[in-house]
């Protein structure tokens, strides 16, 4: 795929949004893993 844009501001804003979005999604994933942890009650 070719370059979507060459505007550095746009690249930065889109990229930062995706980085934050993915890491927030990972945070949600971690919380879900903790919730479904079958060994949780043992702690």
């Amino acid at each position: 795929m070719g370059s979507v844009t060459t505007n550095p501001w746009l690249i930065s804003i889109i990229n930062m949004t995706i980085v934050f979005g993915v890491l927030i999604a990972l945070g949600v994933l971690m919380s879900m893993i903790q919730l479904v942890d079958p060994t949780r009650n043992k702690h």
């Binding site: 690249i11 980085v19 934050f20 993915v22 994933l29 971690m30 903790q34």
Partner: protein
């Protein structure tokens, strides 16, 4: 007989490297010697800098025949076709404990905020006339993650690979010098003294499931970095599974050391005079420093915001560890925090943003590959 001796001597001279040695080669051999001194004499990242420096010296020996099939061409193949960075990530994963991150998932945000250094240097590089692909590869220096920087440079700006790799690894070794002034400048004494609560224990189930789910989610979202994230998490699975100790041991010791030799020597081999001695290299070195400082600033400032939101429970110093450079950046947070308050132990808290930074840098690299695309080889 004397004449035959002279002819033979002239022939040996003509075939020798001395006859083709340029002033550029001499300068780069000098650079290699200085880097060797820094590595062995001063102890700056010796495991990486020594083979890089030696590779630099080897690359500047004229008529070295490295373009012919052989071990050097195999090493260069591994560099230019991104074989080594994912293998390094396998070892990094096997050595990484995601426990502190899983115990305190909000520190993921600090790892994301510290990626601002990537984009500050990207904008700076484009303002200085680099193409969008070159600027993206230069920007990732700010992620303070050598393998990702090499991975992206090989795909987006292979002609700048040497300068980018040297800048990334040099600044990673200088993290203890670059970060503390920025951290102190943007935090108050009271903030640096904040003692954080102990982290909750993380179960084995969480530690095993996390790398699997993380790989599936990130790889589906950003396929260009599947090799990096996949190998990082596979290495971590080796570590956490409990029944793969032999594989974990190989990944974090024998394989890691072998690949480090290949990757670092190969990085040095890209530092030939004609590819390295130019104005662009100086700009890249300067932009790398800006990227590191900006990344540290981004992490610390977001740490301050987090501190305000959670009522002073977060020490903003852990934000600077979001620039990756595992585990050195986390150690810097610990050292600066302990100087302000000797009873402060921030190391485990800083490991959360530190490993989040590794994932964040890989995500930023994948997004740039998806948005801008690699250069045609």
């Amino acid at each position: 007989m004397f004449e035959a001796f002279i002819v033979a001597l002239a022939s040996v001279w003509a075939d020798s490297g001395f006859s083709a040695l340029t002033s550029g080669n001499v300068i780069m051999i000098g650079v290699g010697l200085v880097l060797l001194y820094m590595a062995i004499g001063k102890g700056f990242e010796p495991l990486l800098l020594s083979p890089i420096a030696f590779g630099c010296i080897l690359a500047n020996i004229p008529k070295n025949g490295f373009e012919q099939p052989g071990v050097m061409s195999v090493i260069m193949y591994g560099i230019h076709h991104e074989v080594f960075p994912p293998l390094i990530f396998l070892g990094v994963g096997a050595m990484t404990d995601f426990g502190p991150l899983i115990a305190n998932p909000k520190t993921l945000l600090l790892g994301a905020a510290a990626q601002i250094g990537v984009f500050v240097s990207l904008m700076g590089a484009m303002a200085l006339g680099f193409t969008v692909q070159e600027a993206s590869a230069i920007g990732i220096i700010g992620g303070a993650d050598g393998p990702t920087a090499i991975y992206l440079a090989a795909k987006m700006a292979p002609h700048l690979l040497g300068a980018i790799a040297v800048a990334a690894y040099s600044y990673m070794s200088l993290v203890p010098l670059i970060q503390p002034p920025v951290m102190k400048l943007f935090t108050t004494e009271r903030e640096r003294k904040i003692v954080m609560e102990q982290l909750r224990p993380v179960s084995k189930f969480e530690k095993v499931v996390f790398p699997i789910m993380c790989t599936i989610v990130i790889s589906l979202l950003l396929p260009p970095v599947t090799a990096l994230i996949g190998m990082l998490m596979l290495g971590n699975l080796f570590k956490e599974a409990g029944c793969l100790d032999r594989l974990s041991d190989t990944a974090q010791n024998a394989l890691m050391n072998t690949v480090t030799i290949m990757l670092a020597t190969g990085t040095g081999l890209t530092m030939s005079a004609d590819a390295f001695l130019n104005y662009q290299t100086i700009l890249i070195i300067c932009l790398g420093l800006v990227a590191f400082a900006a990344g540290t600033w981004g992490g610390v400032v977001f740490g301050k915001i987090m501190c305000m939101v959670d009522g002073g429970k977060t020490n903003p110093l852990i934000g600077s560890a979001g620039v990756s450079a595992v585990p050195m950046a986390a150690r810097v947070s610990q050292i600066v925090g302990q100087k302000a308050n000797p009873a402060n132990f921030l190391l485990m808290h800083a490991m959360g943003p530190n490993v989040a930074g590794v994932i964040g840098t890989a995500v930023a690299a994948g997004t740039m590959l998806a948005m801008i695309g690699p250069v045609a080889k």
